[in-house]
Symmetry: C2
């Protein structure tokens, strides 16, 4: 048995080596480079798996994912999409049908060569994304304009063999949803791609309390096989950008590769116009890095697995009976009102230990209830986001009070993140200026841009920053490209990113 | 492009060859051997995938799965379990730790040998089930009796390289949930295994309207690595049995293989006691085969994606405006009342076509609404399960009427299946009698049994029947083993199965 424990230790060490250390890049001010990994592990969101680059999503992390998933699934269905499920394994020959797609994805695929004890005639790729297999099926299902639009979504696991992994942010296997649609016209497909980006914006801002920039990617950052890639980009607490979701207008690229043709109302045989779009468990990393602080997670109430935790405070057995009785009463009342509430009645740890425990896990509100509170029919409420304590809240109106506070916390977390991003967004008129800004700290840099993909590559090499988006919100303003000096109306955001 | 279409055709043909034809076994009376596959394909529950033995779950089938999943997920959480997610890929060395387990599963695994363009040092198995990887993590997490019980569930895809596949019933990849638990005592683990079997019984009977036999498997049919396997077995409309779910008491087999030890309250270091349990998308096959008839699916209202379909009936444009207006009104009213309702307002097909369309898809209730109904403020209701038509139902009390009818349909489908099973269950006192019975038709055969695993194997070879369960409901009654002639109190059920 000792030998087996050793195997575990060894595997664990390998995992840690597999992590990107980034010792040179402090997470926040102070020496906290390992803050992210420690927080994810200590809050029990995830753990390292014994397979290189893979993770285990633990119950608390999975409950967070379920809340995000439920919110998004509702919006996906409201916008007319239907869920379905397509195979995990994709024949090698499928991957090679769309030239750019195979170039982008084949190098990072996991490949099945044996099944049922035999070598397979054709290797099978574990899906890194499902455009190929889904569009193969679309070709079977789409015959006439009456079959369009075809609006499909899938919740699934995918595998991309990443070299440098980080829990949630970049793992070999991750969970996601991928939408795939086919339309009769270019205009409709373009509208769909934009509509789903708006759904993602709403998910990020209204649920995850993460303000995002919506915009288009440059050619260099485009999805392999797309005509245009739209994105939502969020700023993390260290000033770096995180791509939180993408929506692609695929044009007719996959329709031509997979022969998705339909008879139009005019009787012509035409190729379909398509989109695909996805967000993943990476969003959990975005929430951790977008709101976390010294004490650990700060979770937005709308997606928090536990919105309110009750901590009883007592010394004697008599007090314990009294206080726990009241806590149970209040627990039942809040649960009935639809609040996600937890009563921490553990007997083997102190209130102080419990405070830290739930602060690390980012629970938005904590109720402290002691004998005096019971006597006065009141509770004390502690806010995770502001550390504020509200004493002597009457038990009678508690549900209303908490409901109001949960909304206030949700709004405050969003406002704080937005103010932070605004304070960390600067303009650069020249490349020298951009380099100087980024040498001092991680920020979003707005600038005019008319460079090439090659220019972008050079800038990335020199500054580690890339163009995160050509924001929709930027009106055309005449100016000069900060790199080439050419006149242009296009403005972009440069930033270092996860 | 023509070449690509040919590839599709070819792949499709391969799939059909991959299907078990069973030309010798009629589904029901009459020549309907392909009834099952045709129904699944035509009702658009699923389609063949271009990977041998795999399927695509289409939106209608997936909506059915979502309803089953939601019902079960609620029960799993109510009984104190938490969802989590573990990796898809399992190192080869893990699979070999539990001797029986590897023997049972390794031959049917899909194996990843290459990742990121390189040959892997150790091959990775796509999970056929997750005991090994989950118990590796349990060993990390379990230290003290305070960490127990550990009650985890996972919703995931698994891959088992099956030779003879059939949509939903037996596919190389399928979706399922797998529960994995660790306990401090044998009694607790045994209670857990039985509790989850009871949850499965409730899912099958109360939601899927499928009466099931609960019982234990014989040694021969036990899960690879378990001490005892419990099961729910349902009878299909052709008299064959379908194993709809299993729950395993694992003893300390995996705890010893993966070194899951904890300090007991008495301070001793002990191995944990464990269970695992799962149901899969096979349940959709059970619903199709358990309730279907000549016209297609018959879906239990509690899991039906659409509970009520509205079909407008009109001839002139004037009638159309009138009828559609009323249909939209009723649609809104039913939707508001929480009924899953669909309005079939397609303009390019006749009411008769629509009737067939929705009958094939098993929608429990249909509202037919024509100009006369509008004038009289009534509707006509057609029941899928009995083909009964209820004319002149007042629109005023429609929601109440439909809610009552949905319950009645749910109950009737269950009662019908139970009566069918009872009519197809017979007793056999000798092996000759058993052979005679099974040569005439597929039924459940109750008999006394004291044979060996070898005896069971011989009987399977000769009759294609196996012992489906040692039912809990069978009280010990003294008798004689129908095969060996030895005295025994144990009674079992023999049947042919899917």
């Amino acid at each position: 048995m000792a030998a087996q424990k050793n195997v575990q230790e060894e595997v664990k060490q390998n995992q840690y080596q597999g992590e990107e250390e980034e010792q040179d890049e402090k997470m926040f001010e102070g020496d906290r480079s390992r803050w992210y990994t420690d927080t994810v592990l200590n809050a029990e969101l995830a753990d390292y798996a014994p397979v290189k680059g893979c993770m285990v999503i633990r119950p608390y992390g999975y409950a967070l994912w379920e809340n995000i998933k439920d919110a998004l699934d509702g919006m996906i269905k409201e916008t007319g999409h239907q869920n379905a499920y397509f195979p995990l394994l994709i024949p090698e020959s499928f991957m090679t049908k769309e030239a750019q797609h195979v170039e982008g994805f084949a190098p990072e695929c996991a490949v099945v060569t044996h099944g049922g004890g035999k070598k397979l005639e054709e290797p099978l790729f574990i899906r890194p994304t499902s455009e190929t297999i889904i569009n193969f099926m679309f070709a079977k299902w789409v015959q006439s304009w009456r079959d369009l639009p075809l609006l499909i979504n899938q919740w699934a696991n995918v595998v991309r063999w990443e070299m440098r992994t980080r829990l949630f942010l970049r793992t070999a296997e991750f969970l996601w949803q991928e939408g795939h649609t086919a339309h009769a016209t270019e205009v409709e497909a373009e509208e769909e791609a934009r509509k789903m980006l708006e759904v993602y914006r709403s998910l990020a801002e209204d649920w995850l309390a993460l303000p995002v920039i919506t915009g288009e990617k440059t050619d260099r950052e485009r999805f392999a096989g797309a005509v245009r890639t739209y994105c939502i980009e969020a700023m993390m607490r260290d000033g770096k950008a995180l791509q939180a979701g993408t929506s692609h207008f695929l044009g007719q690229n996959f329709a031509k590769a997979f022969d998705i043709k339909f008879q139009s109302q005019a009787g012509e045989l035409e190729y379909a116009w398509q989109t695909s779009w996805g967000v993943s468990t990476r969003l959990i990393g975005a929430v951790v890095l977008g709101h976390g602080d010294d004490k650990g997670l700060v979770l937005p109430p709308r997606i928090a697995p536990i919105q309110v935790v009750i901590v009883p405070i007592y010394k004697t057995d008599e007090e314990k009976a009294l206080v726990l009785g009241r806590c149970n009463e209040i627990f039942a009342e809040l649960k009935k009102a639809g609040i996600r509430v937890h009563l921490d009645d553990r007997d083997n740890c102190t209130p102080g230990f419990k405070f830290n425990h739930w602060e690390l896990r980012g629970v938005p509100l904590r109720l402290n209830i002691g004998p005096r509170d019971v006597a006065g029919n009141v509770v004390e409420i502690a806010r995770r986001d502001t550390s504020e304590k509200i004493r002597g809240v009457a038990q009678a109106g508690l549900v209303n009070e908490l409901t109001g506070l949960l909304s206030a916390v949700q709004k405050n977390i969003f406002d704080k993140a937005l103010a932070f991003r605004q304070s960390k967004t600067v303009k650069a008129a020249s490349y020298d200026e951009l380099k100087k800004i980024l040498s001092e700290s991680n920020v979003f840099v707005e600038c005019h841009w008319d460079g090439s993909s090659e220019d972008e590559g050079k800038i990335k090499e020199e500054t580690k920053a890339t163009i995160r988006a050509i924001p929709f919100a930027f009106e055309p303003v005449q100016g000069t490209c900060m790199y080439t000096g050419k006149p242009t109306t296009r403005r972009v955001i440069f930033a270092r990113s996860y």
